[in-house]
Symmetry: C2
Amino acid sequence: VSDPRLGAFFTPRSVAVYGASRQEGKLGHTLLRNVVDGGFDGEVIPVNPAAGTILGRAAVPSLAERGATELALISVPAERAAAAVADAARAGCRAAVVLSSGFGETGAAGQARERELTAAAGGMRLVGPNCMGVLSHLGGQAWLNGTYFWNVPRVPGSLSFLSQSGAFGGMFFDQLRRRGRGLARFVSLGNAADVNETDLLGWLGDDPATGAVGMFIEGIRDGRRFVHEARAVTTRKPVIALKAGKYGTGARAAASHTGSLAGRHGAAQAAFARAGVIEAEDSDTFFDALAAIGERGAAGGRRVAVLTISGGPGVLAADAAEQAGLALPPPSPAVAERLRGLAPDFAALGNPIDLTPQCPPDHFPDAIAAVFADPAFDGLIVINCGLDLPPFAEGVLAGAAATGKPVAAYLLDVPQIERRIDEARIPRFGSPERAVRAYAATVIR
Amino acid sequence: VSDPRLGAFFTPRSVAVYGASRQEGKLGHTLLRNVVDGGFDGEVIPVNPAAGTILGRAAVPSLAERGATELALISVPAERAAAAVADAARAGCRAAVVLSSGFGETGAAGQARERELTAAAGGMRLVGPNCMGVLSHLGGQAWLNGTYFWNVPRVPGSLSFLSQSGAFGGMFFDQLRRRGRGLARFVSLGNAADVNETDLLGWLGDDPATGAVGMFIEGIRDGRRFVHEARAVTTRKPVIALKAGKYGTGARAAASHTGSLAGRHGAAQAAFARAGVIEAEDSDTFFDALAAIGERGAAGGRRVAVLTISGGPGVLAADAAEQAGLALPPPSPAVAERLRGLAPDFAALGNPIDLTPQCPPDHFPDAIAAVFADPAFDGLIVINCGLDLPPFAEGVLAGAAATGKPVAAYLLDVPQIERRIDEARIPRFGSPERAVRAYAATVIR
């Protein structure tokens, strides 16, 4: 069972901001402004030795005088962070996010400061230090934006995300915005002096607002516990990981930049496999797979049909499918016979199933319906770069609606068809290969 | 020496369009309209048994009566194509593009029709049949658009492209348009009954308008001749290939859809390597590499610095660099010392060189200049997802201008900086890994 105190990071009723500043450009100003502008619906208390009023909120020099705050966000110089943590703990906070840097990532003196930090926390749980903060949808228009980020999305969704890299959080928000996707929770883990990826993954597993979890991982601290907790989550919701530091140089850099030992990639890979965590091979596949899972959940199985009228791009998809470990069986005999009656004599109807541009457009609906209904296939990769796009796409929409089978598509851009495909929640990708890899990444191993 | 008759495909003084039709939606109408709308600056003669006037041009039932035309574009039913070819040959055409389908790709009867086609050509060179046509920039606003495509770019450039797949041509034009890139020549090869990839590659090697060549290849017909001709081209200009049909299913589909035997991938790969042709692993890398080469030519060497302030994304770049066979040496001792004086104590200054977000922004220009000037590096991968983007990017612009070293960048989108980076012709990519793969693909092996 996950620690219920972790809920205070995501749905606190009140927030204190240590280091809140009137001065624009200061990180403590950015943080308070983000909390206020984000639409946090509880009390917000700036904590600043000079007190006064900051962004319309009365500041206090110490939270201990005020009491009864749930979450502390801490953005003060490293040497003052332990005092802020102690103050928050005395005031009864259940959780604190230390965004300040200058701890374990900076060498021996910083490591000593990091130990002071955890000692000062008492019974309070701690995210960070050296992190970019926490973001959480609270319902309606209300968000907790306890981060330094200016580009966070404002679209609610069921995806949650844990990042061992703050900068990767920026990439993640950029991708969400470009794709118009929604978010439930985001945590930048930083040095993970207290709360780590395993703790939070367990909590997100129990979180009803979270339907799928993405993780950017440089190293796993306690592999055995991770596998145990993650396996309990992946039986209920998909978890997709991107591991950085796979090779020599990258692994050393990852170790250096988080101030912790990066796990050997082979060990992490084995842990992911045992835990049912899907591992994406690169950041493009990672974001594509998150998008695919966000739209239709995990795919059912690895037997796919590559359905196309575009020979060359269909072959690229077939290549990528074999490389990604998907199976490309031929259509079952009855479906093959049906297709032979609808497509031109010379069409290649193995797999890829290439109906050819010469296929009469009014044959597309029946041919595509037959492929969708074929029990030989768990899902479809749909590739169309051709001139007969509208009737082909209508067939795909009907087939997906009738069978509910997962589809990943690459279509050349025809805006009105793109809109219909998007409305049907069929994920589209930037190339045939990316459509295939996104499908493959969402197949639970 | 390449066949000078092939020039008639790209810079003809006059064009005849067989199958030109008044009826919208007919391919013969599309083809004539594309030629006229494309801004062809020579004579355009529609050939149609009913004669009359089509799109403002007087049509003739046979070109033989008119004579003196250089290029014939043929879009008639398969059974009438040989007669059209014979008519064009009698009229003295030097070259013909047969766009019609229904030949070798459709089985034995089609193969017989394809043999009639080549027999009818006489001394005329033939592109196709079963192809999407030819596109060529003629100078200024004048283009020959002898294709069925509606989405061709109108930006002149030095890139030329040969495609064994018509549909992949559509993907190519879509990518050019999205990236705002220019084009010199495009040929869809179709069944290649006469002119094949080797013939055209040789001609493009001699073509002063062509600075780089991209090829979409499903199979190479005569490997030994290809290696011989391609090697002569790659010593003068970069050639990048994407091979479809790499694996079992894909290879069989490629064989089926072009109506010819697809080469074994291993054989094609060996031929590319011997010829100095760069092989891209997938369509994303292919288009990224073409963009990179279009901007700065081929990269000098494989020793790169990954320069960043964004730890996690920098590690992803380092992973991708090792996987792509690039070398990541440390900075030379003098540069390392200079960087230690400019970056925070705890910055990891191996490779990746992570200056960290805590590096004072006014130290960026000197630090980045030192990395650019370091003889340890042939080029740079620049990754920045951080908040200090403007001064960092200014440093990159200055370093690239001062040293001329190739750079591939991943930057989070800040429109004003993107424009400056684009103006400096520094290619940007959609992820750290894509920046790395594009760089690696442009290193001549």
